[in-house]
Symmetry: C2
Subunit: 238 residues, 2 copies
């Protein structure tokens, strides 16, 4: 028997296992992206059918999380990976936690939409969250793109988008408080918008986390809790 | 040279490394427990000194997270652990993420308290959150206790406490909405209580997650996203 071939075979199988995991994480990311879009549209248009789709996808997201988690653990036990492979597995364990929580936030929005339908606010369009939604969708998309290309170049841009998200969120909250004070009849509606805005802001945070995990994977350095300047040094390091 | 001795020595050192990690996680847990208590007291008594203590501890919590994370990764690379050791390391990576987020929620409450002082609501006591605070503190304490004793017996009780937390949280929100509607001058104050209640509710969720990670560590089975009945079967399995 040709040992070299076995060696190659084992290595090829290992590569396939790693590729399979990355593929599944990106699939999970795609589903979660759909959930955000559908949840926000459901909320803005009081579309119950869309809201139900978001909730239906929750089980799929949960089971992908558990499946990927198990595969990572098995590879850690069987292959004793080192260097990039080890970092990829550890980062993946964290990325799927953030993706699952993003899914949960979308489900929160969808469930609130289901409750809304019963109220008077049926024909209201909840347009306030439009810009925030676009920002947050962009952040998640770019984070998943970093993962797909195994490239940390966009991480600083994503971090700066998160600052925009925080400003936009703050501005929505202030507007809502003013509106509530002007007329208490606006309170219930304003609180619905407030919860949705809060969920979107959280989704922005989780997207930022994902881009940090990809940076750790690619650059081998933990970049959580550091400033944009320090982050830039890590990214530009060869 | 006596190979057996080397073997024992390596194993003893390995044990020490694992114990060191568990000790650090429990230390991190203790700090985070203090943060919750101080943040809630700061909020209820508008005590800026307490609020500052919470914020000061944030860096320590962040650096413990990074330190424990690195130690787990190094052991995974060097020791190629299996079975319980592997599960302990993977669960630890997740537990410290939840602890760090609990710390973040306390910092949120503390920062809001710092902003409060400037308003009219100085002498208000914000007592509404008292019961919720007690429930959530109990949940975190019991979860950390499970980790300290490597025992999953209390996990079902913690999960049931989380249901109490959700009910208490819902009841606070309804009361606050009523009060806002009765008198719009209550709105700002009510929203402060609302954000604090939301943070506490999240801390309950994270505490629940920690107890699930300990169950995975001890019982070798992923118990996220399952019902209380299924969980009971896992816990009672020898």
């Amino acid at each position: 028997m040709d040992n070299k071939k076995i060696g190659q075979h084992i290595s090829r199988q290992f590569n396939e296992e790693m590729e399979d995991i990355r593929h599944k994480v990106l699939t999970m990311g795609g589903i979660v992206e759909e959930q955000i879009e559908q949840a926000a549209q459901a909320f803005m248009q009081c579309n119950l059918e869309q809201a139900e789709k978001v909730i239906q996808k929750d089980d799929l997201v949960d089971s992908l999380e558990i499946e990927i988690d198990q595969e990572c653990t098995e590879i850690l036990a069987r292959r004793q990976p080192a260097a990039f492979d080890l970092r990829m597995l550890i980062a993946t364990l964290k990325i799927i936690t953030d993706l699952e929580r993003i899914g949960d936030e979308s489900v929160r929005i969808a469930k609130m939409t289901m409750a809304l339908e019963k109220t008077e606010y049926y024909h209201d369009k909840y347009h306030e969250i439009h810009h925030l939604l676009d920002l947050v969708k962009g952040m998640l998309h770019n984070s998943l793109d970093c993962l797909a290309r195994l490239d940390a170049d966009n991480v600083i841009a994503i971090k700066m988008e998160d600052e925009k998200v925080d400003r936009e969120y703050g501005s929505i909250i202030r507007q809502l408080i003013t509106r509530m004070m002007e007329d208490p009849r606006n309170i219930t509606r304003a609180l619905d918008v407030l919860w949705t805005a809060r969920s979107l802001e959280r989704i922005g945070d989780h997207s930022c986390n994902i881009s940090e995990h990809v940076t750790y994977m690619v650059k081998g350095q933990d970049v959580r809790h550091i400033s944009c300047e320090e982050l830039e040094k890590v990214i530009n390091k060869q």
